[in-house]
């Protein structure tokens, strides 16, 4: 078990490293460097950056040195908690991102929880009542969920909310609580606004999970041990929930690692459509303004967040699946 978790942890570290290289590439790709865009930025506001200041900035960020040296300098700054300055906001990147990152986590986790809460019972039901009306309905909704890109779904729901109820269903807070400090009322407000974005983000994942759960359970239901359990006279509910569902749960759980990156990815673009105060709109704005330190940091943090989430799900998986626990390799 420890070897398994250890292996996943090593892989996670490699993943974080790969993400950091990619984020660094994003920072490096556009022509010019941070200082040239900074000078241009200041010039457009009427102030002048002296050559000395420019040189100091270049030394601070190690610009003009070989790329790998710059990468290590960037890494060292990050290790000290200094993610650089946002050019557009002229504040440290950490301050700009602030609580938006936590709201991204909240939205993603809510979507993940909703995915499971919906997929598990629906998947079990459509396997037990195979070819019933509800089964067909679940399959149909599942296909729609897989086929409609989530930003289009958000757009359609937003439109319907606007036309039918004349209500704006986007956002995570009511306007009056938007800038208020955190309080129980604000948390409650957040919880009230969460279901719609969570549903939009989770629908594709839910559809996939229902199909996986249904297929797994259908395989298990035909096995002799189910017949044995039934012939012992156990009530049907116990027969289903106690044995085959437990077995079918394992492959179902192992897909969580692929669901999370998908949800985090989707949250970026859905946030833009629904106007959620997550890092999504910030990232787009940063990319368009070529505010590369901000953009790179967001990509890096999102990546790390996903890796941690996946690692947690791996550990959970070991906990529920004894076969992995006992595996030696």
């Amino acid at each position: 078990m420890l070897t398994y978790i250890g292996r996943r942890a090593v892989l996670a570290i490699f993943t974080v490293w790969a993400i950091s290289v990619l984020s660094f590439a994003i920072i490096q790709l556009p022509p010019g460097d941070y200082v040239t865009s900074y000078i241009a930025q200041m010039a457009s506001m009427g102030s002048v950056v002296t050559d000395e200041e420019a040189a100091n900035l270049r030394i601070q960020y190690g610009l003009g040195q070989p790329v790998y040296v710059q990468y290590f300098k960037w890494m060292r700054l990050i290790a000290q908690g200094n993610f650089g300055m946002s050019m557009e906001w002229r504040r440290p990147v950490t301050e700009v991102i602030g609580e938006r990152l936590w709201l991204t986590v909240v939205v993603s986790v809510a979507a993940l929880v909703l995915t499971w809460a919906l997929a598990l019972p629906i998947g079990i039901y459509s396997a037990v009542r195979q070819y019933s009306v509800a089964d067909y309905l679940a399959t149909f909704v599942g296909f729609i969920g897989l086929a409609v890109p989530n930003f289009l779904l958000a757009l359609v729901l937003l439109y319907l909310g606007f036309v039918l109820f004349n209500a704006h269903i986007g956002g995570l807070f009511s306007p009056e609580l938007q800038d208020a400090p955190w309080s129980p009322a604000k948390v409650w407000d957040l919880l009230k606004h969460l279901p719609i974005p969570a549903l939009i983000l989770g629908l594709a994942g839910t559809a996939q999970q229902i199909r996986i759960m249904r297929a797994n359970l259908l395989d298990e239901l035909r096995k002799p041990y189910v017949v044995t359990a039934r012939s012992k006279g156990l009530p049907e509910r116990t027969v289903i929930l106690k044995y085959p569902v437990r077995v079918a749960l394992n492959p179902f759980a192992s897909t969580i690692g692929y669901t999370l990156p998908y949800i985090v990815s989707g949250s970026i673009i859905v946030s833009l459509v629904l106007g959620l105060p997550t890092v999504g709109p910030l990232l787009l704005k940063a990319l368009i303004a070529q505010d590369m330190f901000l953009a790179g940091t967001i990509v890096l943090l999102l990546g790390i967040m996903t890796v941690i989430g996946t690692l947690i799900s791996d550990v959970l998986l070991v906990w529920i699946d004894p076969r992995i626990r006992l595996e030696e390799t």
């Binding site: 490699f14 994003i26 086929a147 937003l158 673009i269 990319l287 990509v299 999102l302 996946t310």
Partner: protein, 386 residues
């Protein structure tokens, strides 16, 4: 179909011979080629067949976009901004003679918005195979014929707008036709690139195993655990602003395919692993075939069908990626036209509430994705007919 049922059930009694008719049928199956068996199997999946027709239709639009469009997709006209779709009257009295009413734009004196009113007295007949703007068939032969059109010039009062116009007064139907061409070819190109990467890397991984396999598998795992959209956004935003449409087009294709090859590599690796120990591969090796020959002459043809199925299933993801990127303004940029670029106009709820037809480009996106998914499902089921 009885014949097919026999093909699907090797254990069925008719295969044992005896009855002459059944014997003949069984003979047919034994001599049928692999592709023939797959076709019989595929034909049974009715939804997949219907999806194949839809996909074929989409690619006909790709080829004939110029012919199906009736207006220059980039011709803008402030006088007919945000015009709603026009109703087509198919019958004039009892005669089949489609026409539309002329439309007059007036400015509302209170809201200063342009409103359009149909003029019931003015009938504009729709002509089939009419002359319109000039284009080149397959980029070669100059032509001016279009499926439909109207007489006379392109004056705002006398043209047709089947699906209305956008903010700049450009015809949505014609733009949709051209957008289909771009969106579907970008998907096809992207999937081709992914396929090359997937087959080469998956093949290496499955054929050699060992160290190479471990490394490639870890790389795939890492790529799959990274949220892709932020990465695409970052890479796409780094494209120089001054690039031409064509350059951006290929760059976006490359970005999408670089991150999309993992699933294909997984399928190819699985097939290689399953086949490495098969008798025919071992004997090919024993008679002294080179590795290249073993792979490309003996192994690849036997899992070609699986690759085709996996490719079809990978296409929808490509289409959605391009649409998402362009929707955000980081993919293709106007004056290029794609489904995502068209949907960009629908970003604002207020705009959509007033002009809901701007959301129409979502329809082909969804239909195409569903059709490719079903087609891929059917192909995957048919890929192994034995």
């Amino acid at each position: 179909m009885a014949r097919v049922d026999v093909a699907l059930g090797p254990a069925s009694p008719s295969l044992d011979g005896g009855h002459p008719a059944a014997d003949e049928r069984a003979q047919r199956i034994f001599v049928a080629s692999q592709w023939q068996l797959m076709w019989w199997r595929f034909r049974k999946h009715k939804v997949a067949v219907a999806s194949a027709v839809v996909v074929l239709g989409f690619y006909l639009v790709v080829v004939g976009a110029d012919f199906l469009a009736y207006a220059d997709p980039n011709a803008s006209e402030a006088q007919r901004s945000l015009m709603p779709p026009q109703r087509i009257h198919w019958f004039d009295g009892w005669r089949f003679a489609p026409y539309v009413h002329g439309i007059r734009g007036v400015r509302d004196p209170q809201t200063f918005k342009r409103v359009y009113r149909a003029d019931p007295d003015q009938k504009i007949p729709i002509r089939f195979f009419a002359h319109g703007f000039e284009y080149r068939v397959l980029g070669l032969i100059p032509a001016t014929r279009h499926l439909i059109g109207v007489d006379g010039g392109r004056d705002a009062g006398t043209t047709i707008f089947v699906l209305g116009t956008d903010l700049q007064g450009r015809d949505l139907w014609s733009r949709l036709m051209y957008g289909t061409r771009v969106s579907l070819t970008i998907g096809l190109l992207g999937v081709t690139l992914s396929l090359v990467l997937g087959v080469v890397l998956g093949g290496l991984s499955g054929f050699y195993g060992g160290m190479i396999d471990t490394v490639i598998q870890r790389v795939i795992e890492i790529l799959r655990s990274i949220p892709t959209i932020p990465l695409w956004m970052g890479l796409a935003a780094a494209l120089p602003r001054e690039w031409t449409i064509l350059q951006v087009y290929f760059a976006i294709t490359l970005i999408i395919s670089l991150l999309g090859w993992t699933e294909l590599a997984r399928v190819v690796r699985g097939r290689f692993l399953a086949m490495r120990e098969e008798d025919f591969v071992v004997s090919a090796r024993l008679v002294g075939c080179t590795q290249m020959r073993t792979i490309f002459v003996h192994m690849v043809p036997s899992f070609m069908s699986h690759i085709i199925a996996a490719t079809t299933l990978a296409l929808p993801a490509m289409i959605i990626s391009e649409t998402s990127l362009s929707f955000l303004g980081l993919g293709l940029r106007p004056p290029a036209i794609s489904w995502g670029v068209l949907l960009q106009q629908a970003q604002n709820v207020q705009t959509v509430a007033i002009s809901p037809w701007l959301m129409l480009p979502a329809v082909p996106v969804i239909v195409a994705v569903v059709a490719f998914n079903f087609l891929g499902d059917g192909l995957r089921d048919a890929a192994d007919p034995y």
